[in-house]
Symmetry: C2
Subunit: 190 residues, 2 copies
Amino acid sequence: MHELVERIITEGRHVGGGIVKVDGFLNHQVDPGLTDRMGEHFVHHFTAVQPITRIITAEASGIPPAVATARLLAVPVVYARKTNSALMEADDYQADAVSRTRGTAVTLRVARRFLHPEDRVLIIDDFLASGSTLSALMAIIEQAGASLVGIGCVIEKPQEGGRERLADQHVSIVSLAKITFDGDQLHVYV
Amino acid sequence: MHELVERIITEGRHVGGGIVKVDGFLNHQVDPGLTDRMGEHFVHHFTAVQPITRIITAEASGIPPAVATARLLAVPVVYARKTNSALMEADDYQADAVSRTRGTAVTLRVARRFLHPEDRVLIIDDFLASGSTLSALMAIIEQAGASLVGIGCVIEKPQEGGRERLADQHVSIVSLAKITFDGDQLHVYV
């Protein structure tokens, strides 16, 4: 998605440690028009695996691109919760992930009644880095006995090896832009 | 918004303690069509205060209705972060809120570069209960010297007094559905 590459190049800020802040349009401030076009790209890429019955993401940054995709497909989005609130239940599907930017493990939770064995699920998330969050979402889908039909990520960081780590699942992984580092030099490409 | 009232009546689950779970369409699973129509209602209600230059919400449940409203107005959304991640900065605008469903205080944070004195800001959030989250968002807007032009909430719980607590700000508060309790009896209305 060339528009996204341009936005990362012009607005992304490399803050060191392999972290590029894209909080101007992805994970703090959201650009609704750009987000809609991300949804269009994902729908186009995953045409072959339809029907998709449900989209799963993780709070909070995955929600805008997931909802943008879901509205075009007219299917519900479930966002896995990271907080242990009074709203969650003991029998929730659960899996652990490590947050790169928080530096801690988080437990992702999805209520049983929002994921069923007959579901054909598309995962949409903001980043594919180590693959930890995506692995947790995949584990939750497996616990439910549902079918994973594809994974769409807005930005992939190929040097962190997530795609290889997820390869044994034989599922199509699509990213809209990729970021690599060569020392302090940032490369952004589709 | 009669459609929303119907959904709360048919799908909401009163789990005691004054909490009605509406996680089937608002704060765990999201119905994109319903969310779009929430956005249309908010835009209609706040026509008189335009131009609106930015929408502010709090992660995570506020994000879908905020983005649905923002896409119709073609303005950015900023969602206040509740996590102290590596992406946040020491000079962020900050204010504390108490989460009813988590039972703990959380600090909401907004980066300085996403809120400016010339901004005319609409707050959109999922719930108006005690008003604690909304008060924190209002404090952040005030720190930035921006103008608050309205507050839109999907569901209001009038018995928790949030509207009265926010009244001294003299800003228009719109909710799309209201929930009250009479003992164990739930009343839902526009």
